[in-house]
Amino acid sequence: MSEADSRPPKIRIRGLCKAFGPKVVLDRLDLDVPAGRSLVVIGGSGSGKSVLIKCILGLIEPEAGTIEIDGRNVLAMRRAEREAINEHIGMLFQGGALFDSLPVWENVCFGLIAKRRLKRREARPRAIEILAQVGLGPEVADLSPAELSGGMQKRVALARAIAAQPDIIFFDEPTTGLDPIMGAIIDALIVEQVQRLGATAFSITHDMASAQRIADTVAMIHKGAIIWTGPASEMRHSGNPYVDQFVRGSTKGPIRMEVRR
């Protein structure tokens, strides 16, 4: 047993439920995210991946269940406590979610400036250092996010996610909208930065190649519940018919997509 396996999970989710009106999105979901490891949740569109990540981040309030980070139930915390927890969390949004009104360097150091951990005059050189870690040069620092390509925006968003040297980093569909080469570059950067920081990584994706590259452990979500968890190396021959169908991208199998013909 490795050192990582012997530690209590960084994130422990039990009985998580969330519905929007009559539509049940998360149905008594249980999941452990091991400390210092990279867990990728795979699943089809509408399976509850995004709602799960938003519940963990405190962006959506679930109806029932517990979410523990480092053994503390974040759902029972006051807002200030929750904000303190968020200071140790980084998040890479699917579309980047960079602030249009700010230049790249302010985007990268936003969290550090906002929490007064860095003065503005110190922030720009620091941002340039962080941008270098994701393969971007100093000439990018003063550009507006709108002036960047999709791949560069993702890298700036990754730089922002790692700027505060978080303990946990969330990745929401990190390769969506990128060509396969840029997707692989982003995945490599994610693996490199997560290992450098010794962070716990939690990703959601339906890109199987990306999942294979960045995951230590893979969990499959279907109809709001985790139906399979295993090492990334076993994902392609899990023996679970749902996982097999999803990994193969087959239309034949137990997963029925809600498509009218």
């Binding site: 904000e83 980084g90 998040m91 949004f93 579309g95 979610a97 602030f99 249009d100 906002a114 922002r160």
Partner: protein, 261 residues
């Protein structure tokens, strides 16, 4: 019978929806006020909004005020000359501008310019996950986005109305002297003769309330927008329409408070 019940049910559910929306606006306003007095504060954001709302609204408010003053002088003259009361033109112009037209027209023009801009900017931030990104960066979106806009609009609208009052009276003076051949000195004497501090102060109080309403409705509609570009468009329209209606409603309420005997 069923048709009648369905009709009454429609009225009832419509009334409940309006009450629920009003409740959400009030709660949003209370949250904005609460966060106005609690740190952290964002003075750079406040300064940016003061420039955006105040300085860049000056041309439109100035033009509206000066032409309103000119039209008012002309209309008053043609109307009052029917019963030989031309001498009251200067007094009517100054009282109408300071009590009503200055604050209401400035409010409506700023609602169109700034209310729409605020709703569009915050709405776009909502649908592109930028507001969620603020939360994950331990920054309260109400404090960072809403408070600076509401405070700035509440502070600068009275300043804009002072400018509108001066230019509106000046517009009346130009028409009065150049076209209607009033004596300049007599016109100015009549302008000051019946003007009381209460007239100007009521207009400035109205302006502060209108500024609060414009920014609040812009922020509220933008903050709760959903559904992509269409949702942002709807938020923008709703912000301008709701702010304009509330300006007219509160204009009556404040007038009643100041001048009802």
């Amino acid at each position: 019978m069923q048709t009648v019940l369905a009709f009454l049910g429609g009225i009832g559910s419509g009334a409940f929806a309006i009450l629920a929306a009003a409740g959400r606006v009030v709660l949003f306003a209370l949250a904005a006020l609460w966060h106005t007095v609690r740190p952290p504060f964002y003075p750079r954001q406040l300064a940016r909004q003061v420039v955006e709302i105040g300085y860049f609204s000056l041309p439109v408010v100035a033009l509206t005020a000066i032409f309103s003053g000119m039209v008012l002088a002309l209309q008053s003259y043609t109307g009052f000359s029917r019963f030989s009361a031309e001498g009251a033109v200067a007094t009517v112009v100054v009282l109408s501008i300071t009590r009503e037209l200055g604050p209401v027209l400035a409010g409506l023009m700023v609602a169109g310019r700034i209310g729409a801009a605020i709703a569009a900017e915050i709405g776009t931030m909502r649908v592109t996950d930028q507001i969620d990104a603020l939360t994950t960066l331990s920054t309260n979106p109400i404090k960072y986005l809403v408070v600076p806009r509401v405070v700035a609009a509440t502070l600068v609208l009275p300043l804009l109305v002072i400018v509108a009052d001066i230019l509106g009276v000046m517009g009346g003076f130009i028409v009065g002297v150049a076209k209607l051949e009033f004596n300049a000195s007599t016109y100015m004497t009549r302008t000051w003769e019946y003007l009381k501090a209460e007239d100007v102060i009521s207009g400035l109080v109205k302006a502060a309330v209108f500024g609060f309403i414009i920014a609040l409705m812009g922020c509220f509609q933008g903050y709760h927008s959903k559904g992509g570009a269409q949702g942002v468009g709807a938020a923008t329209t709703n912000a301008v329409v709701s702010a304009s209606i509330l300006i007219l409603v509160f204009n009556y309420v404040i007038t009643e408070l100041f001048f009802a005997r």
